[in-house]
Symmetry: C2
Subunit: 336 residues, 2 copies
DNA sequence: CTGAAAGCGCTTACAG
DNA sequence: CTGAAAGCGCTTACAG
């Protein structure tokens, strides 16, 4: 069963491929194709089960109607949700999404950028890795539509949609202070990425403002050795610095493992110490009391990422917008 | 900055595009291209930052090195994990993965099959919807490589990789019986899909074997009204049939919501009643006691799905294998 | 060892 | 209103 192409339809009907193409793309007005020819073509196309070949179309048009999405790890709930919303919106614009993982490796980011480029994606939505700036920069310099999400590189002016991590973090810490915490630990990744730096800065500034800052209370975890590092960090916070009465976890994975460790050590939340987490985890539903967390507007982030990218695709040399969204504090016993 | 193609390299070097293509694809042996010409071409390609155009290649070769993955919902942890492993393996074979969601809608399944077909994917990995069989059947009949995963349609012989849901379910129920449960509820989706039918059948057979079967203990939930149905189902199980001493949850979403409801009603696990869940949820880590659950070998499922698909792509008219994996019971206080 | 040419399926000026 | 033709970038017989 040979593939049915525009040519086969044209031959059967004794018309030119140009006419068939025009009709099948709804451009019969422009080509001013007669109504009956158009009707005949549409019927025959259906009858022959014509299916357009987007590869050929893409080659000819110089665009693929495909978006390349690069995230750290699609099996992480945060990125999975983000990917979901990006996809739903991309679909509305007629784009398909190719999703790839970096697992936070700069090498894989480079590789994935190349893979997606060779697939002629019309644009990139990227959650960059720690030292991934050069690869993103190359894209931007070549005017390839690119939107960063979750983490921005302010130095290069790619498009971006991020959360105001600084104020979100400060908000979290202040809520702990307002609950009476004085010695507040921070569990965060050791990372040069902007969102981590901002979360740390938000924590430090908010705490310093109240005169409670102590560098020993900041524990920086290595992404690659996380399950090992977390218990050590928590133990050190609680045992050595046993005045700790609150902990701010800077990501959902960190909170998951951290809270687990707190439970292992029989610390009760919020009696023994209070916590706030960045991002929700399903697990919070199972806790006896509601766990306060910073809520990032994921559906919005996905939508805006797609919208910014589509704008760039339309006008590759136009200015690239950077959108910052506010995150909210949920489940906190104190008002904001 | 014009795109650099094989042609531009050929022109600069004064050789033919055929030679360039041969060299860049490592087929210089076949074409018996001289070493120095080959070397010159490789150097110039690097120098000009040549990047192959996979669209053109795909059009010419009749394949795209792309796999279409259709899942119910990429933001569900089960599918997100599955997608992760599928991707990692696809990459090894040089395939990219386009992921799309159906949200359990048959209409969207049909649409996504068409979208992916027009993108000339070389094969499909599909988590089918309840009434999605016709769309899958069309693919199979046309000899388009297709592997079903998680849920099989036994009637059509697509390739498939599934878990032995029947025995997994029976195993779960028997573990409850061995712990002394006599009145065991089942919370399951109302669905004609094979995996659900099998899980229900496994439950019924295992329970009947011990003479404890009571149809009132089976609560079938509608996917679309789940957050409403679950509390009602649990309440009805516990209040009307208050001899209930165990519950088997047939999916992770059902267990999440179900256990939450049990906690709302102040039922303690396992003192007041015992539970077993299908699939792990992150939340289990936060429970005071370990929650027993059926573990599906996701990494294996992903790997095998890709392997089966690659086999089919190599030999589209060959026999399509169907692999059934065993799931294990984790965290149960009784041995298996 | 290398080149000229055809063709994958499509769209788009151009000509009539 | 419609057709002939070029060309997107690639690969692959074919010829020499």
């Amino acid at each position: 069963m040979a593939r049915v192409s525009i040519k086969s339809i044209a031959e059967v009907l004794g018309v030119s491929t140009a006419t068939v193409s025009l009709v099948l793309n709804g451009k019969e007005k422009e080509g001013r194709v007669s109504k009956d020819v158009a009707e005949k073509i549409r019927l025959k196309a259906k009858e022959m089960h014509y299916e357009p070949n987007n590869l050929a179309r893409g080659l000819r048009m110089g665009c693929s109607q495909t978006i390349g999405l690069i995230v750290a790890d699609i099996s992480n709930l945060f990125f999975a949700n983000l990917a979901f919303h990006i996809q739903e919106h991309a679909e509305k614009y007629g784009y398909s999404v190719i999703i790839t993982n970096t697992n936070e490796s700069d090498l894989k980011l480079e590789k994935m950028v190349n893979v997606l480029k060779s697939r002629q994606v019309d644009g990139f939505i990227i959650v960059p890795t720690e030292h991934g700036m050069p690869y993103v920069e190359t894209l931007v310099k070549r005017n390839i539509p690119t939107v960063l999400v979750d983490r921005n590189f302010a130095e290069i002016k790619a498009g971006a949609v991020v959360v105001d991590n600084y104020h979100a973090s400060a908000k979290a810490v202040k809520s702990l202070i307002r609950q009476g915490c004085r010695n507040i630990g921070l569990i965060i990744y050791k990372s040069r990425l902007q969102h981590m730096r901002e979360r740390k800065r938000g924590y430090i500034d908010a705490i310093t403002e109240h005169g409670f800052y102590n560098p020993d209370f900041v524990k920086e975890i290595n992404y690659s050795t996380i399950s090992n590092d977390i218990p050590i960090a928590i133990e050190s916070l609680l045992l050595k610095e046993n005045r700790i009465d609150g902990i701010f976890f800077a990501t959902n994975t960190l909170s998951m493992l951290g809270i687990k460790q707190l439970m292992n050590m029989n610390r009760r939340i919020p009696e023994d110490l209070k916590v706030v987490c960045f991002d929700k985890s399903d697990a919070f539903d199972f806790m006896d009391i509601p766990i306060p967390y910073i809520f990032q507007p994921l559906p919005e982030m996905g939508r805006i990422a797609v919208e910014l990218l589509v704008e760039q695709i339309k006008e590759p040399s136009g200015e690239r917008k950077c959108v910052e969204l506010q995150a909210s504090l949920v489940n906190s016993p104190v008002n904001n």
